[in-house]
C-alpha cells in the first residue's frame, strides 16, 4: 500500500531514549537543516533560527526518557520548533517597542551565506537570490522540497499545514521564480523539481 520507505528516524527514538548519543547525533544531522529553515521562515535570522533549534534539541536530550513514539517524533520536533519560533516572535513584538533596530532585522530578508554564494555560478546565485526573495512561507515550502527533497506530506507535517496548502505554496513559488528568473533559469528550476 505504502510505497514510501519506512522513516529512517523510527529506530532512532528508542535508542535516544536509552541514552545513545550517536542516535541523537543522527537525528540532529537529519533534521537540523529542515528545522532551521522552518524556524527561519518565522524569525528571518540564521543566528536566531539555529539558537532556537539548538535549544529544542537540548531539551529533547535532557527529556529523552519521555521521548514519544518515533512515528510522531518528526511531527513533534517540527511542531515544537514552530511553537518556539512563534514564541520568539511574540517576545520580539514586545522588545520591538523599545528597539527599532530589532524591527529592521526582523523585516529584512535573511541573507544567504556569503562564502557559499561566492562559490556558485551566476545562475546559482540568481536562483538562490530569487528563492530568498520569496515570501517567507512560500520560500520555506520550496526550500524543504528543493534542498532537502522532502515530500509534500513531510513538508505539510513540518510546516503544520495541509498537503493541499503545500502544493499551493510550491505552485506559487514556481510561478514567482519563473517570473523573477526568466526562462532559462526557470527551466533549470523545473528540471530539478
Amino acid at each position: 500500500m505504502n510505497d514510501r520507505p519506512v522513516d529512517p528516524l523510527v529506530p532512532l527514538a528508542r535508542r535516544i531514549r536509552d541514552g545513545d548519543i550517536a542516535a541523537f547525533e543522527a537525528l540532529f544531522r537529519a533534521l537540523h537543516g529542515p528545522l532551521c529553515e522552518v524556524v527561519d521562515g518565522y524569525v528571518r535570522s540564521q543566528a536566531v533560527a539555529e539558537e532556537i533549534v539548538q535549544d529544542l534539541f537540548f531539551v529533547v536530550w535532557v527529556d529523552r526518557e519521555r521521548l514519544i513514539e518515533a512515528r510522531s517524533l518528526r511531527a513533534y520536533l517540527f511542531g515544537a520548533a514552530r511553537n518556539r519560533a512563534v514564541h520568539h516572535l511574540r517576545h520580539q513584538v514586545v522588545v520591538k517597542r523599545w528597539s527599532d533596530r530589532e524591527r529592521a532585522e526582523l523585516s529584512s530578508p535573511a541573507k544567504p551565506a556569503p562564502d557559499r554564494q561566492l562559490e556558485s555560478s551566476e545562475t546559482e546565485a540568481a536562483v538562490r537570490e530569487a528563492i530568498d526573495r520569496l515570501p517567507a512561507r512560500t520560500r520555506v515550502a520550496f526550500v524543504l522540497q528543493w534542498d532537502y527533497e522532502m515530500s509534500h506530506a513531510e513538508i505539510a507535517t513540518a510546516m503544520g499545514i495541509s498537503i493541499k496548502g503545500v502544493e499551493k505554496l510550491i505552485a506559487t513559488a514556481k510561478a514567482k521564480l519563473r517570473q523573477a528568473l526568466g526562462n532559462h533559469a526557470a527551466t533549470f528550476v523545473e528540471r530539478r523539481l
Binding site: I21, F57, E124
Partner: protein, 285 residues
C-alpha cells in the same frame, strides 16, 4: 547532468551547532537534573522552586572538581543547597545541604563516599554492587531507595531504608553485615562499634528531600546546627542551657524567619539577628 549547476543549500552550521550542543549536554550531564526527579515526584518541582526562592540558592553555585583521568567527580553543596546527581546507570542521588559526594563518573566502580546527607535511588545490579562509604559505615544496596546521614558533626551514621534492603557493615573490623529493611534505620557509631537497628518512620529521614524540615525530639544544639545547614546561618546560644532543650517540629518549605519565630515561641526564648548570625537567649522575665 554535469553542466547543470547545483545551488548550494543555505549554509546552516550543522557541524558547529552539533559541537556546541554536545558541549552543553556534557556540561549538564553529570550535574543536576531536577527534571528527572520531578518525573517521579511531580510535586517536587513546586517545592524545589520554593526551596530555591526561600533559600536563594541554586545548583549553579555548586562546586565541582573533576579529575578527568580517574573520572572521579566531587560534588559539594553549600548550606541551603540540595541537588540531584544522576548517574549513568540511572541511579539518582539527592544530595542534602552542606554535603560532599565523591563518585566515579565513568561508573567503572559504583563505590562512592559521602559526607553529609543524601538520598540514594539505586538501579540495582547484582553484578555491580552499589556501595556508599559514610563515616564508619559501608552501605551496599540490594535494590533500593535509602537515605544516609553522616555529617562530620554527627557521632552516628544513620541509614534509613525507604524501599528494598540495604546491607550495612562496619568500615573496620568484621562484625558481619546487618540487613536493614524498608522502614528501619541503622545506626553506626564510630568505625567498629556494634551495629544497631531502630524502627523509625523513614519519612523522618526523607522529608528533607521535598523541602520539609523535621526535628524529632532533637536537642536544640543539633537543631541550631541543622538550621545552619539549611539556611546558611550561624545559630548561637547565648544561654548554654537552651542547648539541651528538646524540639519536635515539622516545617514545610519553611522560611528562616518562620522557623526562628516558632522555635523562639516553643523555647520561650528570643533571638537577635545580625547578618547571618542569629543569637538565641532566654527571655528576660
Amino acid at each position: 547532468m554535469d553542466d547543470e549547476p547545483t545551488v548550494p543549500r543555505r549554509a546552516w552550521q550543522t557541524d558547529q551547532e552539533w559541537f556546541n550542543l554536545l558541549e552543553r549536554i556534557t556540561a549538564d550531564e553529570a550535574v543536576v537534573r531536577p527534571r528527572a526527579q520531578a518525573r517521579r515526584h511531580w510535586w517536587w518541582v513546586g517545592i524545589a522552586a520554593g526551596i530555591v526562592l526561600l533559600l536563594g540558592v541554586s545548583a549553579l553555585g555548586t562546586t565541582r572538581w573533576r579529575n578527568r583521568r580517574a573520572s572521579i567527580e566531587t560534588v559539594v553543596t553549600t548550606a541551603g543547597q540540595r541537588l540531584i546527581v544522576r548517574l549513568a546507570d540511572k541511579s539518582t542521588i539527592t544530595l542534602g545541604p552542606a554535603s560532599t559526594l565523591r563518585y566515579d563518573r565513568s561508573q567503572r566502580s559504583r563505590e562512592m563516599t559521602l559526607e553529609g546527607l543524601a538520598d540514594f535511588r539505586v538501579e540495582h545490579d547484582p553484578a555491580r554492587p552499589f556501595v556508599v562509604h559514610a563515616g564508619g559505615a559501608d552501605i551496599a544496596d540490594i535494590g533500593t531507595e535509602f537515605v544516609v546521614r553522616s555529617y562530620a558533626s554527627d557521632s552516628v551514621v544513620h541509614v534509613a531504608v525507604n524501599t528494598g534492603v540495604v546491607s550495612v557493615r562496619n568500615r573496620v573490623g568484621d562484625r558481619g553485615e546487618l540487613l536493614v529493611h524498608a522502614g528501619e534505620v541503622a545506626l553506626v557509631h564510630g568505625v567498629s562499634a556494634p551495629l544497631q537497628v531502630r524502627d523509625v518512620a523513614p519519612a523522618a529521614f526523607t522529608a528533607w528531600i521535598g523541602g520539609t524540615l523535621t526535628f524529632d525530639d532533637d536537642e536544640f544544639v543539633d537543631v541550631a546546627r541543622e538550621l545552619g545547614r539549611w539556611f546558611d546561618v550561624d545559630v548561637r546560644l547565648a544561654d548554654p542551657s537552651l542547648g539541651a532543650r528538646r524540639i519536635t517540629a515539622i516545617y514545610n518549605t519553611p522560611s528562616l524567619t518562620s522557623v526562628l519565630d516558632a522555635l523562639g515561641a516553643t523555647l520561650g526564648a528570643r533571638y537577635e539577628r545580625t547578618g547571618r548570625i542569629i543569637t538565641f537567649s532566654a527571655r528576660v522575665k
